[in-house]
């Protein structure tokens, strides 16, 4: 009896210590979160917030400060002033039509606006932009320049101002005339960028499917996790970007290991049918989605604190961060290809994908391979999430939800279970999604629907996908 007491005391002390150890970092993490959201003069669009942004540019596409702009709509009327950083953004209470009026008295002497009034449509989750261009020639002689009216993010990019939050939500524009070659080339570049990053995210789905037969519905949240950890690393902890990239990959890979060790490996040992595991991934996806919301809230967030700098390479203008992300994606995809074709473990992975029983008979340990696949998949998905958030400027908790359907379309197009099919399919989907906005009259908020159309067409015409084998689909 007496011997029990000190034990009890130590146990209690240990429990307290553990609680403290858990709670203190949590509090440290929690405080900057509140601090970060407080001084937020700029409007960040999210599911329930609509923003109207007025941009005033001079002839060289540089923002003009101290110009008064009035934004008015149904029972809403505010005056804002542009700053040196550029646009004046304001949160509006309702979706709908808003009129942006330039206060001509505040326009610097010697400059003339191309228009003094523009109408934009505000919508939740979107910053409705409108740009006024100030030229040195009076309006009578001013040529109609291709100003990014109504805010088309990709258009604005060609004009030299990469918008701050070229979010995945996209803005809404209906194009009147046919696209020029420059626009096609620009969208091709954006498509390759999106395709490469999508490939990085979706190769994991394909590897997991190939080795275990499981379609993982929580893979989208793995991507969001990467973006979230990237945000935490850069914005909250102030780490340099390269270090955060590595840490994000490590932490996300650890979530993959944890998942497999805690959930999937025991389920496999029990011989749980794959459908049942698929529903478990749904539960996991739901739980992760709410955990992510708890950490970062419902708003759109920017991973990089600086405004993006545009960089033109071969006639394509993307933000510098986008170019670097593409470079990183190519390096990692190259590594995956090398790993799968040239290393013993990689070849074993493909052997397990082809025929698990046969692979096991030749001395490969399928459980080990599957564990490695989970670690790799989660790590690459996390990396892709952070790179996507960097290249698109901002992200929110629902990033993964959107990506999941694009990833499924990509891996189905390429052939479920084939890693190289996922790469190919992702490039095609990325190109189609970005280039579909070029179709005259195609509103850009419907561009993701094109992925679904491809998915259905592929299933009708060639259900095994481009690189798949017919026997897999039976």
């Amino acid at each position: 009896m007496t011997a029990d007491r000190p034990n009890l005391a130590t146990a209690a002390r240990r429990l307290l210590a553990t609680l403290a150890a858990v709670a203190i970092p949590a509090m440290i993490v929690a405080t900057p979160a509140m601090a970060a959201s407080a001084p937020d003069a700029e409007c960040t669009p999210d599911a329930s917030t609509a923003c109207v942004v007025a941009i005033v540019l001079d002839g060289q596409s540089n923002p003009v400060p101290d110009v008064g702009v009035n934004i008015s709509g149904a029972d809403f009327d505010v005056d804002v002033t542009t700053t040196k950083e550029g646009p004046a953004s304001v949160e509006v209470p309702h979706v709908g039509s808003y009129t942006i009026t330039l206060d001509e008295a505040t326009v610097p002497d010697g400059l003339f606006p191309d228009a003094t009034e523009r109408v934009v449509t505000a919508q939740n989750g979107i910053a409705a932009r409108s740009a006024f261009r100030l030229t040195t020639t009076p309006p009578e002689g001013a040529e109609p320049t291709a100003t990014p009216t109504d805010g088309q993010p990709t258009d604005a990019a060609t004009d030299g101002t990469v918008p701050a939050d070229e979010g995945l939500g996209g803005a809404d524009t209906t194009r009147g005339s046919g696209p020029s070659f420059g626009q096609i080339w620009q969208q091709f570049g954006s498509g390759i960028r999106f395709g490469l990053l999508l490939a990085l995210a979706s190769v994991g789905i394909s590897l997991i499917y190939g080795t275990t037969g499981l379609s993982s519905f929580s893979h989208g949240e793995q991507v969001t996790l990467g973006a979230m950890f990237g945000f935490i690393g850069i914005q909250w902890m102030g780490l340099p970007v390269w270090l955060t990239l590595i840490l994000v990959m490590v932490v996300c890979a650890a979530t993959g290991w944890l998942q497999d060790a805690a959930i999937w490996a025991p389920l496999r040992r029990r011989g749980t049918p794959v459908t049942q595991m698929m529903i478990v991934t749904i539960g996991l996806s739901l739980a992760l989605q709410y955990i992510i919301q708890m950490v970062i809230g419902g708003r759109s967030l920017r991973v990089l604190p600086q405004n993006p700098r545009p960089l033109e390479i071969a006639g394509i203008t993307l933000s510098t961060a986008s170019w670097l992300s593409m470079g990183a994606a190519i390096v990692v995809i190259g590594f995956i290809a090398w790993f799968l074709t040239r290393t013993r473990i990689g070849r074993a992975t493909r052997a397990v994908s082809d025929n698990t029983a046969l692979a096991a008979a030749t001395g490969i340990n399928p459980d080990l391979i599957v564990r490695i696949v989970w670690i790799m998949s989660a790590g690459f998905a996390g990396l892709a999430g952070m790179l996507l958030a960097i290249s698109f400027g901002s992200f929110n908790w629902s990033l993964g939800m959107l990506l999941l359907l694009l990833m499924f379309a990509a891996v189905t197009l390429g052939g479920l279970g084939t890693a190289f099919g996922a790469l190919l399919g992702s490039l095609v989907i990325g190109l189609v999604v970005e280039m579909s906005t070029l179709i005259p009259g195609m509103p850009s908020d419907l561009r993701y629907a094109s992925a679904l159309v491809i998915l259905i067409l592929v299933l009708l015409v060639r259900p095994q996908g481009l690189l798949g084998r017919a026997e897999r689909i039976g």
């Binding site: 979706v95 919508q123 379609s215 529903i279 478990v280 539960g283 739980a287 499924f408 629907a449 998915l455």
Partner: protein, 329 residues
């Protein structure tokens, strides 16, 4: 005193119109998954489409019953479009296509192109489509409110006794419908497909056609559930996304797939406990966590519950483990 208030809230959830709406959607899903073995991961898409069909038809002047038919027809059409490319393939293709299509429906709903009809991201306001439904009310107009035990609502209105009566009547009709279907030879073929598709094919049955019929019928029930879901509120595309689908799955698996009353029991239990949990957290942790956080913790717990349920008790409360086919074919 606080306790009794929380308990009353939970009790109210048992008969809430939303509970009935989700029960109906789960009955549809049960026809898909429980009886036929189809993995429909986009039931919220069917619901949203039904809600839009009903709302838009009513707003263009259709009477109540016609609007209801439009809602059912849009669900059926959606099922056909999704079924044709996928039902001859292995089960996860249907899952992939349905989860994607439901998401696309939500995006189309909030797109500005169709804003004229769908109201964009803001959706359709309740007052724009509820009038025809409320005119049908058979409840007395003279005393406006009525109480039953601790629960008191207006007789006719958005959150009213009439909405409840109608919603639960629809659920009972759906249960009767499923009961008649599943004890018929047609229903036995469905179960046969679930157990062994090839065996049914060997008997000369057209498996694709049967699966399609099940998908269409379940989808129509989902659309009807969507109509009930929006009757006490407005049509908001963002509230009918992927989470709603997963809630319907949790409800179905909690009550028990492949059982007659499973979806109904699951829905009542789910929403009562969910309310108990959130109200309890709001009271007990007041000042510690915000109300948004309570919602988030609640949602997270639903996810964890779904995982544990599928792992440890896949047959749910009422189900029979042997009746459940979890194998992908």
């Amino acid at each position: 005193m606080e306790l009794s208030r929380i308990l009353t809230q939970a009790l109210a959830e048992l008969i809430a119109p939303t509970t009935a709406a989700i029960a109906l959607a789960a009955i549809g899903l049960n026809l898909h998954f429980g009886f036929t073995g189809l993995l429909n991961m986009g039931q919220a898409g069917f619901m949203l489409l039904g809600a839009y069909g009903f709302g838009i038809a009513t707003m263009s002047g259709a009477p109540f019953w016609l609007a209801l038919v439009v809602a059912l027809a849009s669900g059926a059409l959606f099922a056909l479009i999704l079924g044709i490319p996928t039902l001859q393939l292995r089960g996860d293709y249907l899952a992939i296509v349905t989860i994607s299509a439901a998401e696309i429906i939500r995006m189309l709903g909030r797109a500005t192109v169709f804003q004229e009809w769908t109201g964009g991201a803001a959706g359709l306001t309740g007052s724009s489509f509820k009038a025809t439904f409320q005119e049908l009310s058979i409840l007395p107009a003279a005393p406006e409110r009525g109480a039953f035990g601790p629960l008191e609502y207006v007789f006719t209105g958005s959150d009213s006794w009439w909405t409840r009566l109608f919603a639960w009547a629809a659920v009972l009709v759906a249960v009767l419908f499923v009961w008649l279907l599943t004890r018929s030879p047609w229903g036995r073929v469905l179960k046969g497909i679930r157990e062994d598709e090839d065996a049914v094919r060997a008997l000369g049955k057209n498996v694709f056609s049967y699966k399609m019929q099940a998908l269409v019928l379940g989808g129509m029930l989902g659309s009807l559930g969507g109509v009930l879901y929006v009757l006490p509120r407005s049509v908001a595309p963002d509230s009918m996304g992927r989470s709603l689908t997963f809630f319907v799955w949790t409800v179905l698996l909690l009550g028990g797939a492949a059982t007659l009353w499973g979806p109904v029991l699951g829905s009542m239990l789910f929403f009562a406990v969910y309310m108990l949990l959130r109200a309890g957290m709001r009271e007990g942790l007041e000042g510690v966590v915000s109300s948004t956080m309570v919602e988030q913790i609640g949602g997270m717990l639903v996810g964890v519950t779904l995982m544990l349920l599928v792992i440890f008790r896949p047959q749910g409360i009422l189900g029979n483990k042997k009746e459940l086919a979890f194998d992908v074919r």
